[in-house]
């Protein structure tokens, strides 16, 4: 496995930053889990810790996807990246901006009075979940993403090879960039605030990102198995098409109870319950292609790719659809069921996606012919089993909460502090299990291709 174009190496900068943030995300996630048991456990309050947890998540997934895109575009366009210095500049600009934002969150957490209102916007933390980043940072992020997209499009224009994969990938990324904008202005009405907020949150994870996932899935199956582009691209179009046909109006599943008209109960209920279909097609696609596999050199890459397809369906599709009908959501809305779904969906759909892209592309970037996948497998099972238990405990807690608080009318605090206490303890324990998996992965990431290969088999190279 070797790269065809020197500039593809830039992907590694992004991967490294992503991997480090992944580690940070999980460490603060465990602190957040402990605060469910001991609220005053840490110098920073739960809100700040959780903000760090989810912002680290989003940022590392995005940088991982950017790195992956910088790898895919030259490969598909069969040419060097338009400008490596620009990519490098964009990388460092992102790192600096993110660091500044994180320091701001911590400062605001330690001293909320420092979160001052200047020209109608809060300077350190906007107090809106996932998009806490202040306006000045939003602008920097937009500039960085525009530079990134510009660089990619200029590369494609060099050879004008509009392959399906890179067309859909760049289309998804453009949609992603556009859908950041609805989160960038202030409204006096909390209803409108949440209305636009869901454009960002929902149309990202169930629209733009899922399109990117469809394109990268096709790319990975092609690279790892050597499956035919023609067939892969056709199914890719069908998958991402169905994602859009169901997912756009599926946004309605967030417009049931926030002050929006009742017709969303119908629209959201019907369209969002169809959302698992494209995810199921992706699983089928992965299996169908894998059956054709003969000699696969990159076992870790294949393993993660297939796991991504499966857990995308389970986490987003199954754990999403169970609470998406208004009749159910009326009782489960905003409970720990939502947390359970959020975790399994993000893990299956995007954490495993970025990890599989790393395992598919990194060996080529590092120029290794073959590598020992055992650490990759260990990391996978530590993470996946721990995640399954994190999801089961929060699903359990959510069921107890729905029953006792929502149906029986017990107090929120009573349910959280006494009935659900055991779930919090078990979740925290499995959080540590997850951390072990991540540590194994981080070690593997830094060592891959840099230590002597133990087993050398003569397998024909495909990638």
């Amino acid at each position: 496995m070797t790269i065809k174009h020197e500039s593809q190496k830039i992907a590694q900068n992004f991967y490294t930053f992503a991997v480090i943030l992944f580690l940070v995300q999980i460490v603060v996630g465990i602190i957040a889990a402990l605060q469910f048991i001991w609220p005053d456990f840490f110098i920073l309050n739960f809100n700040t810790i959780k903000t760090l947890h989810i912002n680290a998540l989003i940022v590392w997934l995005l940088t991982g996807l950017m790195g992956a895109t910088y790898y895919v575009i030259p490969e598909e366009s069969e040419t060097e990246l338009w400008s490596v210095p620009l990519a490098r500049l964009q990388f460092w600009a992102t790192v600096v901006a993110i660091t500044a934002v994180v320091l701001g969150y911590i400062w605001a957490g330690l001293n909320p009075q420092a979160n001052k209102l200047v020209f109608g916007t809060l300077m350190l933390n906007e107090g809106r979940k996932y998009i806490e980043a202040p306006r000045w940072a939003d602008n920097l992020i937009v500039i960085s993403v525009l530079l990134f997209l510009f660089n990619c499009f200029m590369t494609v224009l060099k050879t004008k090879k509009w392959t399906g994969i890179q067309g859909v990938l760049l289309g998804g990324l453009t949609f992603l960039a556009l859908m950041y904008i609805p989160g960038m202005f202030y409204t006096k009405s909390m209803v409108k605030d949440q209305f636009w907020w869901w454009w960002v949150v929902h149309l990202w994870v169930e629209g733009a990102w899922e399109i990117i996932a469809g394109a990268l899935l096709a790319f990975m199956l092609m690279k790892v198995i050597g499956a035919k582009r023609e067939v892969l691209e056709k199914w890719m179009y069908i998958e991402v098409g169905l994602v859009m046909f169901t997912g756009i109006l599926g946004t309605g599943h967030h417009y049931y109870w926030i002050g929006t008209p009742a017709y969303w109960l119908w629209i959201g209920g019907i369209f969002s319950s169809l959302e698992p279909i494209p995810l199921l097609v992706m699983v089928w696609d992965a299996f169908r292609t894998t059956r054709e596999a003969r000699a696969v050199t990159n076992k870790a890459g294949l393993y993660y790719t297939v796991a991504h397809a499966i857990f995308n369906f389970v986490g987003a599709g199954l754990w999403g659809v169970i609470h998406t009908l208004p009749q159910v959501n009326r009782w489960t809305h905003g409970t720990q069921i939502t947390t359970a779904h959020g975790h399994l969906a993000f893990y299956g759909a995007y954490v495993l996606l970025v990890m599989s892209m790393i395992y598919v592309t990194l060996p080529a970037i590092r120029g290794v012919k073959e590598f020992d996948p055992s650490r990759a497998f260990q990391a996978f099972w530590w993470m996946t089993i721990s995640m399954i238990f994190i999801v089961l405990t929060t699903t359990g807690a959510g069921m107890v909460q729905t029953y006792m608080e929502r149906l029986m009318g017990l107090d929120y605090v009573t349910v959280k502090a006494s009935y659900n206490l055991w779930f919090w303890i078990v979740r925290a324990i499995f959080g540590v299990g997850f951390l072990i998996g991540v540590l194994i992965f981080v070690v593997d990431y830094f060592k891959l291709g840099k230590e002597p290969v133990r087993v050398i088999k003569a397998a024909p190279e495909r990638a």
Partner: protein, 223 residues
């Protein structure tokens, strides 16, 4: 289907559904102001305070947000204003084991927040949060209520107090309060909690003397 056909279907279909979504969004935005009271300066100031302290980082509002703390949609109906104000400014002064930190909210900010919560509670949310459907079954429906119990229910004491596992946690548990307090203390405390507990966050019980006596009788049975 050819690849080109699949591609075109994807593009045209996506644009089609996005156009419908835009049209519905346009319609929705036009209807929102009629489904909520007018937004005064105080309400908007309260929303800003809500963002400034990142309340959404622990709480939900309209069920959206974080799941570490109670939902705020109907909080202004659930709790008296004086209680809310005191709690938000210094949670542990009201409830020693409260899991909410003291964030440094000023008195003016607390007033704005209360205006904001008032506005929130009046938004038409298609009936969310729903009323618990098993509450009466789990409550005291199965047996005759004493006069004191009826007063306790009608005055909404259980919003703040727990008896045998049922009720809210804003005030102390009353399951065994009969062991702790006597009749005179109880009646005096009901009429003016502040005289007995400095800076008490419990509202004065506004009811005829006869009801207050019944309540005290009931409390004394809780042993």
């Amino acid at each position: 289907m050819s690849n080109k056909g699949a591609r075109n279907l994807f593009i045209v279909g996506s644009l089609f559904f996005f156009a419908i979504f835009l049209a519905l969004s346009f319609d929705t935005i036009g209807k929102l102001d009629k489904r909520a009271p007018e937004i005064t300066e105080d309400v908007n100031a309260g929303k800003m305070v809500w963002h400034k302290y990142d309340c959404i980082g622990c709480h939900t509002i309209f069920g959206t947000g974080s799941y570490f703390a109670p939902d705020m949609t109907k909080v202004s109906e659930r709790r008296p204003k004086e209680y809310l104000k005191q709690f938000m400014m210094d949670p542990k002064s009201v409830k020693p084991n409260a899991a909410m930190p003291k964030l440094g909210i000023s008195s003016e900010e607390a007033d704005h927040l209360i205006a904001f919560f008032d506005w929130i509670s009046k938004v038409d949310t298609n009936g969310w949060p729903p009323k618990p459907i098993l509450a009466t079954a789990a409550g005291v429906n199965s047996r005759e209520l004493s006069a004191g119990q009826k007063v306790y229910q009608s005055l909404g004491c259980s919003n703040c107090h727990t008896i045998s596992g049922i009720g809210g946690t804003a005030g102390p548990e009353l399951t065994h309060v009969g062991n702790k307090r006597d009749r005179a203390w109880l009646i005096g405390h009901f009429k003016n909690p502040d005289d007995y507990v400095p800076h008490s966050a419990m509202p004065k019980v506004k009811a005829p003397d006869a009801d207050i006596e019944q309540l005290a009788e009931y409390m004394l049975t809780l042993k």
